[in-house]
């Protein structure tokens, strides 16, 4: 009973805030009352700039401006607002008739910017100030004005660090939400691209943009995203990782059920497939939903290069991802339980390499894998050059020393090295992390039950993945339920079909918006390959031979 009461009690409620930390104070007509409230709310906030100004001298209008130093673009305030007020005082005061609400008057005559709006709540005024806008309180009006003056220091657009490509655009998302939405909109110049704004976090008030193609996306998916974003009230959101973990389907799974990407081109193409993107302020990672296991193996570059090469690469990715979690376990299983499976020469060679090693093979592998994880973690935390040195020292020097000291066998070093390389060949970091964890489970189960254990582990993994969904889409799609879209989604799986054959949008898109590619002079889907029209003759293409060409 106590517990229930504790849970229900609003933790942040006080005289001026409700339980969601929204300001309950009204926007008063009296400027003095508003100033008093603002001073109370921003007490001890030395970074807040507040100034009272009179507009005009004949019938002065008292206004009170508030903004946060460093978060605003002062040029906008000074050049497009304050300078006009001063000009008015000095030059043309008598020309303007005060015959409408003062806020309207200010908007019409003293603001040289489009981005100014009336606001009716104190909470909105304060929130605007905290977001980098400038709030103007007007005496005698129960409405205030908010001028968009955001202008804090930002990081410039740079190449994505986790999804580098050889061929393809080099711009990546940054920490500023508006830059990120622009990076996507630049790629889709369509009014059907919608950007819905919302905020999450009672104290952080983090801006979140929900992006989707209005006519392609399933409306139920957008609604589901909206619902899940509203499900929790949290005090602060500092990265899209928070949102990802709050909206995912299964919190128990180590597998990511949303796709986090730094690449605007990836988000743009996902939107065109009928997915929804969630852009979170202060995070360079944009979340894309729904996602499937298959989509984690799709890199942006796959579509920019020839299909044969990229299909080969994709198959390789699937193989290495299997190796990344299974190889150490299978090695242990065969070595300890089924050595008869190996050719005699190899079995003898393996046995010889383990001669004099005191540790059991399972312990060897666990020690080496853990050492590798430590090196990886240390490499990330340390500055670039030092990180590289750690890699060299750890990987080569310590590895060699451990082999020489007969602590581990050379074969273990090879296995761990192959596993490590395999891990980094997977395009998605979240998936890699899941496989890294799985590797330990497979090592233990294979050490206990050999290949039977491996099979049971694999069955467990498949059962888990089969039960997973991402916003209603099976995680295994299109390998499962592939018939739903007429098996066409298979064209972008292990084999990346040529672009002209990927003529239909995947299962996420609305039924009447499935056509992605058609011949320009036709309304129907086509699978006509590019190149000269087969009906054309060589003469048509090259032109009539001219006299003298022969």
């Amino acid at each position: 009973m106590d517990k229930i009461e504790r849970v229900n009690r609003p933790s942040r409620e006080d005289a001026f805030h409700d339980k969601d930390n929204k300001i309950t104070l009204p926007l008063a007509e009296s400027l003095d009352a508003n100033i008093k409230n603002i001073n109370y709310l921003f007490k001890n906030c030395m970074d807040v700039v507040k100034r009272e100004v009179d507009i005009g001298t004949l019938t002065p209008i008292r206004i009170y401006g508030v903004y946060i130093d460093g978060m605003v673009n002062r040029d906008i305030i000074e050049n497009f607002f304050l300078s006009r007020i001063i000009d008015y005082k000095n030059l043309n005061e008598e020309r303007i008739a005060v015959d409408k609400p003062k806020t309207k008057l200010i908007m019409d005559h003293f603001s040289a910017t489009f981005d100014i709006k009336e606001v009716e709540k104190m909470d909105d005024m304060v929130n605007a100030v905290l977001s980098g806008d400038t709030a103007i309180f007007v005496d005698g009006e129960s409405k205030g004005l908010v001028i968009a003056t955001r202008g804090w220091p930002t990081r410039g657009v740079s190449a994505p660090e986790t999804e580098a490509v050889v061929r393809g655009p080099r711009d990546g998302f940054v920490e500023t939400i508006r830059f990120n939405t622009v990076l996507v909109r630049r790629r889709i110049r369509d009014t059907k691209l919608k950007v819905e704004m919302t905020t999450v976090g009672t104290r952080s008030r983090t801006d979140i943009a929900i992006m989707y193609m209005e006519d392609i996306v399933q409306e139920s998916l957008v609604e589901e995203v909206r619902t899940r974003l509203k499900k929790y009230t949290i005090d602060g959101v500092f990265d899209s990782g928070y949102i990802e973990q709050l909206i995912e389907d299964s919190w128990k799974s180590p597998f990511p059920q949303t796709q986090a990407t730094e690449r605007p081109d990836k988000v743009a193409s996902s939107l065109m497939e009928g997915k929804v993107a969630i852009v979170v302020d202060n995070s360079p990672f944009v979340i894309v939903v729904p996602t499937t296991l298959n989509s984690f193996y799709q890199a942006s570059e796959d579509y920019y290069q020839r299909w044969q090469i990229m299909s080969f690469t994709r198959i390789l990715r699937y193989i290495v991802s299997f190796l990344s979690f299974a190889l150490p376990g299978v090695y242990l299983a065969i070595l300890n339980f089924h050595p008869a499976m190996l050719p005699t020469s190899l079995a003898v060679s393996l046995a010889a390499s383990r001669q004099g090693i005191a540790l059991p093979s399972v312990l060897e592998i666990i020690i080496m894998e853990t050492a590798f994880e430590l090196l990886r973690e240390a490499g990330i935390r340390l500055p670039g050059p030092v990180g590289h040195a750690i890699g060299v020292v750890g990987g080569i020097v310590i590895g060699q020393a451990a082999v020489d000291a007969k602590l581990i066998s050379p074969m273990i070093v090879i296995i761990v090295a192959i596993t490590a390389i395999a891990t980094f060949a997977i395009p998605d970091y979240g998936l890699t992390a899941a496989y890294r964890l799985l590797r330990y489970i497979f090592i233990i189960i294979c050490a206990m039950f050999g290949l039977y254990g491996f099979l049971i582990g694999l069955i467990w993994l498949l059962a888990h993945l089969s039960s997973l969904e991402s916003f209603g889409t099976p995680f295994f799609a299109p390998y499962t339920a592939g018939d739903r879209n007429g098996y066409r989604d298979f064209r972008d799986t292990m084999i990346r079909f040529p672009i002209f054959l990927q003529n239909r949008r995947p299962r996420y898109a609305r039924e009447h918006q499935k056509t992605r590619i058609r011949l320009s002079d036709s309304n129907s889907v086509t699978e006509t390959p590019p190149g000269p029209d087969s009906a054309q003759t060589a003469t048509d293409i090259k032109g009539e031979p001219k006299k003298g060409d022969e």
């Binding site: 039950f449 039977y452 099979l455 039960s467 499962t480 592939g482 018939d483």
Partner: protein, 367 residues
């Protein structure tokens, strides 16, 4: 409720049925076929298919008459409440006993091929918990899993077939038509017991997203399995020898052991091949446990239907530990399937169908 929506697509239903039918019985099928029909054993699945169509007819006709319903509601309606409940109870017991014996045979096989030193209870429990993990997510997850597992099961099988075909002694299939018709019929009946998972449809038939296609799903699955059985029996006879097949407990396993891959990196590859077989057995055990669990949940009207999955683990475990030896577990499995299986596969659906017609019960009357 189970975690997800409880329905499967036509494709998933077909694959599920195929995998569930492709169980331990397959490993012993050539032995039974050879014993009963001699060199003509490979023809038994063809007659078995004909018998299978009778099972399909009985089950699908019953379910068609009561759209959206399963045995748990049909039996009490047709046979009066208490008799119906007893029948449904027996059905659940049959499923669990069948799964238990199947599991025991499977564990014996694993013990022989993969883990000779590991105690049988450990082998059994690991698989049971893995099955419980899948079925708690419902039939949708089972259907998806089947779509993936089918590649793991049938790809090695095709490889085996290809390798065996090269070195087979086709004289082992001769002389033809020597078996007595009566023997052929008995043999075909035993072979038709591999279609036992059709009985799952008495509960899960209404979970198809297109229930009208249930009959074609069953025919498709039974047809594929019959073809695989013909090939498997024929290849085992030609690869191992018909007489040897009748003397081996698992002649298919012997067939796999006989394969030598020239220049292969791996020796004793039957271990790998058997590994993939495990997945098929797993699908059967999961299927039986899922249907039993769902039936119990429906009978007692549990809101969260998957709460009944975990208590089934110890029950199936103890059933699987009943036979005292490998020979006894084999006898139990064959006798149980041969003598009890037919009741829920054909006799009960037929009785219910006839009674429903006589009593004017079921959807068609209202139509």
């Amino acid at each position: 409720m189970y975690t997800h929506n409880a329905n499967v697509s036509i494709r998933q239903a077909k694959i599920l049925l195929i995998l569930q039918m492709f169980n331990m019985s397959m490993l012993i099928l050539p032995r039974i076929a050879g014993k009963i029909a001699g060199h003509d054993g490979y023809m038994l699945p063809i007659i078995g298919f004909a018998i299978g169509t009778l099972y399909i007819w009985a089950i699908t006709s019953l379910l068609k008459r009561f759209p959206g319903e399963g045995l748990d509601t049909i039996a009490p309606k047709v046979l009066t409440k208490w008799i119906g409940l007893v029948i449904v109870g027996l059905y659940v017991i049959k499923l669990l006993v069948g799964a238990g014996f199947e599991l025991r045979m499977f564990a014996e096989m694993v013990s022989q091929v993969l883990l000779p030193k590991t105690p049988l209870p450990v082998i059994i429990l690991i698989l049971l918990f893995a099955a419980q993990y899948l079925i708690k997510s419902g039939i949708e997850a089972c259907g998806r899993m089947a779509e993936v597992v089918i590649y793991f099961v049938f790809a090695p099988l095709v490889l085996i077939f290809c390798l065996v075909i090269i070195k087979t002694d086709y004289k082992q299939l001769l002389p033809m038509f020597t078996a007595r018709p009566q023997g052929m019929l008995v043999g075909a009946y035993y072979v038709s017991m591999t279609f036992m998972p059709l009985e799952f449809l008495l509960i899960t038939g209404c979970l198809l997203n297109k229930p009208g296609k249930l009959k074609s799903v069953c025919l498709w699955a039974v047809g594929i399995i019959s073809i695989v059985e013909v090939i498997l029996i024929a290849l085992t006879f030609t690869g191992v020898g018909m007489v040897t097949s009748t003397k081996q407990l698992w002649p298919v396993l012997t067939l796999m052991q006989s394969i030598q891959l020239p220049g292969s990196f791996v020796e004793n590859q039957e271990i790998f091949m058997m590994c993939w077989w495990i997945m098929s057995i797993y699908m059967y055990i999961s299927g039986a446990m899922y249907v039993a669990s769902l039936t119990i949940s429906r009978l007692v009207h549990f809101h969260r239907q998957n709460v009944t999955t975990l208590p089934l683990v110890p029950i199936v475990f103890f059933i699987s530990m009943i036979p005292s030896s490998l020979a006894e577990s084999y006898t139990y499995l064959v006798r149980f399937n041969g003598q009890i299986g037919i009741f829920f596969l054909f006799i009960l659906p037929l009785i219910l169908l006839i009674l429903a017609k006589l009593r004017n019960l079921g959807g068609r009357v209202h139509d």
